[in-house]
């Protein structure tokens, strides 16, 4: 015990000695961090779970991974798919607990709908707040979306050129009549799942202490907390999850995804996602009320909370170390805040952990290039939540692609940086002004995450 205390002390001292120390810590996810770096690197349980907890994790895993089927079925624990849906299982979009891709041909990118009135938006009367492009037999899917990419050429100050692609979306095959003329279509890529329980356990005060809504410190970075409806209490709470921080907690995120994406009702969202005009949808046979029982729902939530964060790799590589300094110097850390501490959690393994998610969980204006035009809670049309960066260096290993940002338009980490605008424009410009060797070092740093 004494030896451990001493070791801890040494680490703390080391951490104070260098401004980049927080950027080069192996165990991104605290004591539960997994050392796996293979194709299943996102799918392991936190290493510090008890055997009882691991059993819950396994059950949750099963209900996360396996397909839901049409009701009624002999598979009665897993029936009730749809009637309207985007996917048959959580893992259809979060394949291997990872990130979706718009280019894979599999589910993984879905589309929110909103009809604007001033700064507010409301669901479309016929299609609701999400386009479901799949359905069970006998029910028409709502429609589909055609994605068209427009290439945009650009160049670095040193003269080297790059090409970005901007997506344009067209609604097609709409099956439930006219859609509102001023409907806004907003894409949402499925993010990797691990670490959600740790993010949820960061004390609210730690997050709001990072906020600077009126940019009083004059650094060009605001940072605003979102406050959104909380289903469990009927009140409002700090938003932490979703691309616009529009969801307050893991349970609500899981319930929303079950309901909107798979058509599975749960204790938190007991009604099917059919709009008033979708009468066949509403009349279809359901898989129970709710379709996922409270116990199983809580197992899936537990699973989502306790997936382990993968450890960093290659931290003794000189390029990675140099890249860390550049990551700080270019201003990335203004929003991608490396270090947090969790507070108390009902899950002991998540409590009082030092973690390195590289996010402030706040909203930032990312400029017109990324704006989706659809406000969400307090988030404006051009604001997005800083996404965590932990694990992004394993995206290709796990999911076989490098599609980043809320719609997967970026085809590499480099493209993702180049899309940063608004409050992040200065950091992007600083990155672009680096020489090519330095840019490579910064990217090597990101790949170590």
């Amino acid at each position: 015990m004494r030896a451990r205390l001493l070791a801890g002390l040494v680490l703390v001292l080391a951490a104070c000695s260098s401004p980049t120390a927080d950027l080069l810590v192996v165990d991104s996810g605290g004591e539960g961090t997994t050392n796996a770096s293979d194709r299943n690197a996102f799918g392991n349980s936190a290493r510090n779970l008890t055997n009882d907890e691991r059993r819950r994790f396994e059950i949750g895993d099963s209900f996360f991974t396996q397909n839901w089927v049409t009701a009624p079925s002999s598979t009665d624990a897993r029936d009730g798919l749809g009637p309207l849906h985007n996917a048959q299982s959580c893992s259809s979009c979060h394949l291997l607990d990872g990130r979706g891709s718009p280019d894979s041909g599999e589910p993984g990118l879905l589309f929110r709908l909103g009809v604007l009135s001033g700064d507010e938006q409301a669901p479309d009367p016929s299609y609701g707040d999400q386009l479901q492009d799949r359905s069970i037999l006998g029910i028409e899917p709502e429609g589909s979306i055609r994605v068209i990419y427009v290439d945009e050429e650009g160049s670095y100050p040193d003269g080297s050129v790059y090409s970005l692609r901007r997506p344009v979306y067209q609604l097609e095959d709409l099956a439930y009549g006219e859609i509102s003329v001023d409907v806004v279509v907003s894409p949402r890529l499925a993010p990797a799942v691990f670490g959600a329980g740790l993010l949820e356990a960061i004390p609210e005060a730690s997050i709001t202490s990072l906020a600077d809504p009126d940019d009083e410190d004059g650094d060009g970075i605001s940072g605003r907390p979102n406050h959104v409806a909380e289903l469990a209490t009927g009140g409002s709470a700090l938003g932490r999850f979703g691309w616009k921080a529009n969801v307050p907690g893991v349970a609500q995120q899981v319930a929303s995804a079950f309901n909107g994406d798979i058509g599975i009702t749960s204790p938190l969202l007991p009604d099917e996602n059919c709009t008033p005009t979708q009468t066949e949808c509403a009349a279809a046979i359901d898989g129970g009320s709710p379709e996922i029982t409270r116990d199983r729902f809580e197992d899936v939530v537990f699973y989502n909370k306790t997936l382990a964060v993968p450890a960093r790799r290659g931290l003794d590589d000189p390029d990675v170390i140099a890249g860390a300094s550049l990551f700080a110097a270019t201003g990335c850390t203004s929003c991608h805040v490396a270090r947090h501490e969790t507070g108390a959690s009902e899950i002991e393994a998540l409590s009082n952990q030092v973690i390195y998610p590289f996010t402030d969980l706040l909203l930032h204006d990312m400029g017109p290039g990324l704006a989706d035009g659809r406000p969400d809670g307090l988030a404006t049309a051009s604001e997005w939540r800083t996404p965590p960066l932990w694990g992004i260096g394993l995206t290709e290993t796990v999911n076989g692609h490098l599609n980043f940002l809320h719609d997967g338009r970026a085809r590499s980490l480099e493209e993702a940086i180049l899309w940063h605008g608004g409050e992040a424009a200065a950091a992007r410009d600083t990155f672009a002004a680096l020489d090519s060797a330095q840019r490579a070092q910064l990217l090597a740093f990101l790949e170590s995450l």
Binding site: N35, E58, S62, Q88, E106
Partner: protein
């Protein structure tokens, strides 16, 4: 804890020549044991394939029963080989591993053939979309569009022989007419013949990958630094013990009481499957199967800490014994209303706890050998 770890590192650095020699022997014996295990499995699977051919040439209740019997026998020989998974070896290599083609589970039956309430479901009943059922088609369809969309392997054959298990107290009861007069009987027969042949092809690849004196995976494996090879061997033992067997295969079925979540849900062979897996771990630990009998992980651990080696041997043996005590059919213990105090459910739960306990000891043994295990 820190002090203990330092001592171990020092001990590992001070390995004598004799200890290194033993490590090399253990790794080589493991390679022999894996090869022998797959050879045994291929032999009984070939027998099964013959019985399936006999059945399809003359589909009667008797030939069907003989084919089922052969599946059950072959399944017993495959189960122990699952201890050779989980480290990216030939069975589950990222690039060309065949595990998903051999043994993926659970499968969505309606992806293959009709099920209750959906008489036209499945590839078999879609002649226009899939006019020719051949090996290429089935391999291409496996896991297309979802992890449960399984078209090949042990459980596909099992489903085609037994059909859905719709009763609480017996296995599936597919009528022999499915292979004579029923709709698409010829396509069903073709599907069964092709997927059985494929199973032999994929098992054969495992035998080849581990054969001695060849430029294959085995040659690379025995050339690895000993601690790396031992890490792989013990990862296979630990992952099968806890995450796969205690977790995915047993806990989920036990807790959800869903028959679909028992491993061999069509044939009701789940208890034997569990025993097969558990005995595979024992096989690796002791280093013995068939004609192979050399030093195992046990001997290495014993050289460091004999009491620990014996304790792990006893725990692994106890897991096999308690798994054998689960009364078949497994699914009778999953029915609603069966109390957790009933002997069958107690035996299932005890097996889960025993497997979890032995996993902790496997990790302890790895530490004693200076091997860093990262179990999920």
């Amino acid at each position: 804890m820190t002090v203990a770890a330092i001592t171990l590192v020092v001990a590992a650095c001070g390995d004598s020549g004799a200890a290194e020699e033993l490590e090399t022997e253990v790794v080589a014996n493991y390679a022999d044991l894996v090869h022998e295990s797959y050879r045994i499995s291929l032999t009984s699977a070939s027998k099964m394939d013959q019985m399936i051919d006999t059945f399809l040439a003359d589909p009667t209740a008797d030939t069907m029963a003989a084919a089922k019997e052969a599946w059950l026998k072959a399944r017993d020989d495959y189960g122990p080989t699952e201890a050779f998974r989980f480290y990216g070896g030939p069975i589950d290599d990222e690039e060309d591993g065949v595990e998903g083609l051999l043994n993926a589970w659970p499968l969505d039956e309606a992806y293959i053939d009709y099920v209750e309430g959906a008489p036209d479901a499945g590839v078999i009943n879609m002649p226009e979309e899939y006019p020719t059922i051949d090996a290429e088609l089935l391999v291409s369809l496996n896991e297309a569009g979802g992890e449960a969309n399984i078209s090949t392997g042990w459980h596909a054959i099992e489903f085609l022989l037994w059909g859905q298990d719709l009763s609480g107290d017996g296995a599936g009861n597919r009528p022999v007419e499915d292979y004579t007069t029923a709709g698409n009987a010829d396509r069903r027969a073709q599907y069964l013949a092709v997927t059985s042949d494929l199973l032999l092809v994929h098992l054969g690849r495992m035998v080849d990958a581990w054969a001695p004196d060849a430029g294959n995976y085995r040659a690379d494996f025995v050339a690895l630094p000993a601690d790396e090879a031992l890490g792989k061997i013990m990862t296979g033992m630990g992952e099968l013990s806890r995450g796969e067997l205690a977790g995915e295969r047993m806990t989920v079925a036990y807790e959800t009481r869903s028959q679909e979540d028992e491993h061999s849900c069509f044939s009701d062979n789940t208890t034997s499957d569990i025993v097969g897996n558990a005995s595979g771990i024992e096989r690796v630990y002791l280093g013995r199967v068939g004609s192979v009998d050399g030093p195992g992980i046990y001997d290495l651990v014993a050289a460091e800490d004999e009491a620990l080696a014996d304790r792990l041997r006893d725990e692994i043996g106890a897991s096999v014994a308690v798994a054998e005590s689960i009364p078949p059919p497994f699914d009778q213990h999953l029915a609603e209303g069966v109390s957790d105090e009933e002997p069958g459910r107690v035996a299932i739960f005890d097996t889960i706890v025993s497997l979890e306990g032995q996993t902790d000891t496997i990790v302890e043994a790895a530490v004693a050998l200076g091997v860093d295990l990262n179990l999920s």
